[in-house]
């Protein structure tokens, strides 16, 4: 397989160049660019050094950077996330691939008790520059235990940062920002997006905690993450034909949560629709509504959330999986409801 990495010029030369690449290629490019910029950056995880990994996000990296920096691990998430922590304390900047978000809970201690708290409970003596790349989300027909986004599971943990990548460009920029951050950062990649093409600004680095307004509109603010962003954009396109101007925000960061950007938008539009591939309770959508409500942001209609069913895990049966995921049509319908209210 020919990868953009092998053909890519040095980072400095590529700086600022815009390339069209797939989400998958953008991830590989971000990894390669950070690994060539900093010899302390390395990648570890299950099968990352074998045939580019299960989702083919690291092809060519082991050939280019060697087995010392592209390290296959046994299947033991809690153990190897702990290993990454230990490496980071000694000055390395490990990137860990978590093959499915559903496996993240097996690393529960490492991600809940260790990564976020380690610097704090040492009295600030250390920093923990660990990036977890978490492969998230549905549409893969992977069934109940391989389809979670898990994007909000860890949003309540001081010390962590959590990001979500909705496009090739954001995947590239967010990953580079995560790897450069001196704190533990979890970056969710959506497995349903790997083949999507889009523009990538080679060399660009995302600003931590900054959401992206992808489409401006004055009637309603719609906030989404991951796969739901493109579905929301599709819905917005359809709504525009009906005369409804939806402002679409890709949240990008779940921790820190960019309340300011959403709030400023809702102050103009007076309406808020949340689109999330997760149950609503305990997620970023609920947190945004809570924050805006507490801040007294005036709204002309009650906020609406398009989410996964509250009491149903993700089913395998393809038509059923499709049925529970918010579709552009369902999103459009929810937005119409909010605007008419």
């Amino acid at each position: 397989m020919s990868t953009p990495i092998e053909a890519a010029p040095a980072v400095a030369a590529a700086e600022g160049s815009e390339l069209v690449m797939t989400y998958r290629e953008a991830i590989t490019a971000a990894l390669a660019d950070e690994m060539s910029a900093d010899p302390d950056v390395l990648l570890l995880g299950e099968d990352v050094a074998t045939e580019g990994g299960v989702f083919k996000t690291s092809p060519g990296l082991v050939e280019r950077f060697g087995h010392e920096r592209v390290l296959n691990t046994p299947i033991c998430e809690n153990g190897f996330v702990g290993v990454a922590l230990g490496m980071s304390l000694m000055g390395l900047r490990p990137i860990v691939e978590i093959m499915f978000a559903d496996f993240l809970p097996t690393a529960g201690d490492a991600v809940v008790n260790q990564l976020p708290k380690y610097r704090f409970m040492s009295g600030g003596q250390c920093s923990v520059p660990v990036t977890l790349r978490v492969i998230s989300g549905g549409t893969g027909r992977f069934g109940t235990q391989h389809s979670a986004t898990g994007e909000s599971w860890l949003m309540g943990l001081p010390g962590l940062r959590v990001a979500t990548a909705s496009s090739p460009g954001s995947a590239y920029e967010l990953l580079r920002a995560a790897i450069r951050d001196d704190n533990p950062v979890i970056v969710h990649e959506h497995k349903g997006l790997y083949g999507r093409k889009g523009e990538v600004r080679r060399g660009a680095i995302a600003e931590v905690g900054r959401a992206a307004v992808l489409r401006e509109g004055s009637d309603v603010t719609v906030v989404a993450t991951l796969l739901m962003v493109e579905r929301t954009l599709k819905a917005a396109e359809a709504l525009a034909a009906e005369g409804i101007a939806a402002e679409v925000i890709d949240l990008r960061w779940i921790r820190p949560l960019d309340v300011a950007t959403v709030s400023a938008s809702v102050e103009r539009t007076g309406r808020l629709v949340i689109v999330e591939e997760q149950v609503h309770h305990g997620g970023w959508g609920a947190a945004l509504i809570s924050e805006l409500t507490m801040a007294g942001v005036p709204m002309r209609a009650r906020p609406v959330a398009v989410s996964l069913p509250p009491d149903l895990p993700v089913p395998y049966s393809p038509p059923l999986e499709d049925a529970i995921l918010p579709s552009p049509e369902r999103i459009a319908e929810a937005v119409r409801g909010a605007v008419r209210a």
Partner: protein, 324 residues
């Protein structure tokens, strides 16, 4: 004992001093608890001093260690000033972790104490990670990780042992087998008596060590550290030892059989080294008594100074959460 290469007398006297410092520190901690100056919980290590001091004597300055909530011994053995340790236990700004860590988190990155963990087993993968950073960078450094007998039943023990063996990481796993995991005897929770046998499953050397005899501890850890440093991979050492106190502050340890504590106290690690040094004519009983008395003064003064230190403000500790 004659078979063990002994260190110079000056160094072994220093071991004696270090063990006495730990013993008196822990006793003072108990007293401060009773006086209400330390709150929450604490896990004392009286009886286990030789494991900390003997192991750490086998480390070089550039080596690192991770340990556990029963970790005051390792912290002091590695040179943490008792005053800063007391201050941490009292939640003072002058504590080693600024007062936010407390008894279970006596860490000092400046001397390579890179993690004192309150979660059983969590320190093992961290040590393997540190060791792998040494290996990947070609540095001749070693990581040690101390943990209790009960940690050999948790997943991270097996995960860390496996990774260390597969990658031949320069790490030494040190079990402090003090016979009890919290309130439960090892054999209630574990189907074997000798935990060192678990090394076999990971194709690494495993060795049982008399953890009350500091000369033996030093010799065993030196061998393992030397092997790791030379690229020979990891080792599992099982230190047979005993904690004189219960699991934590509130535990009177009534579950222990009658006479067990006395039998272990008859093999007190400080007494064993003290008697040996006295018999060798190198450190008289009178000198030992004088050292102990001086140490008591030092410990009391350190605790008193820590007690006078200010508590941190919420503003001060905010910067500990994220690195900028």
């Amino acid at each position: 004992m004659a078979s063990v290469d002994q260190r110079p007398t000056s160094e072994r006297r220093e071991w004696y001093r270090s063990m006495v410092r730990i013993r008196l520190f822990e006793e003072k901690v108990q007293e401060l608890f009773m006086g209400g100056h330390i709150e929450g919980t604490t896990h004392l290590c009286q009886g286990q001093e030789a494991v900390s001091v003997g192991s750490i004597a086998a480390m070089r300055g550039e080596d690192v260690l991770t340990n556990t909530y029963r970790g005051h011994g390792q912290a002091l053995a590695r040179g943490m000033p008792p005053e800063r340790a007391f201050a941490e236990l009292m939640g003072r700004a002058t504590g080693v972790a600024g007062g936010v860590g407390g008894s279970m988190h006596l860490v000092d990155f400046s001397v390579g104490n890179i993690g004192s963990n309150a979660i059983v087993g969590a320190g093992l993968p961290i040590a393997v990670g540190a060791a792998m950073s040494f290996k990947l960078r070609g540095q001749p450094r070693v990581a040690l990780t101390f943990f209790g007998d009960a940690a050999t039943n948790i997943g991270t023990f097996h995960e860390a042992m496996n990774m260390a063996a597969v990658w031949q990481a320069p790490v030494v796993f040190i079990i402090e087998n003090n016979l009890y995991g919290e309130f439960s005897a090892v054999r209630e929770t574990t189907p074997i008596d000798d935990l060192a046998g678990r090394a076999d499953a990971y194709a690494m050397p495993g060795r049982i060590v008399d953890g009350q005899d500091i000369d033996l501890v030093y010799e065993a850890v030196s061998e393992a550290v030397g092997r790791a440093r030379e690229g020979g991979g990891p080792t599992l050492l099982e230190m047979k030892t005993y904690r004189y106190r219960g699991h934590s502050r509130a535990d009177p340890a009534r579950y222990r059989p009658e006479g067990e504590l006395d039998r272990w106290k008859a093999r007190d690690p400080i007494e064993i080294l003290g008697a040996r040094l006295a018999a060798e004519g190198r450190f008289s009983v009178e000198e030992q008594a004088r050292l102990r008395a001086d140490m008591q003064v030092e410990i009391d003064a350190a605790a008193e100074r820590a007690l006078q230190a200010p508590v941190p403000t919420l503003e001060e500790i905010k910067g500990y959460v994220y690195a900028d």
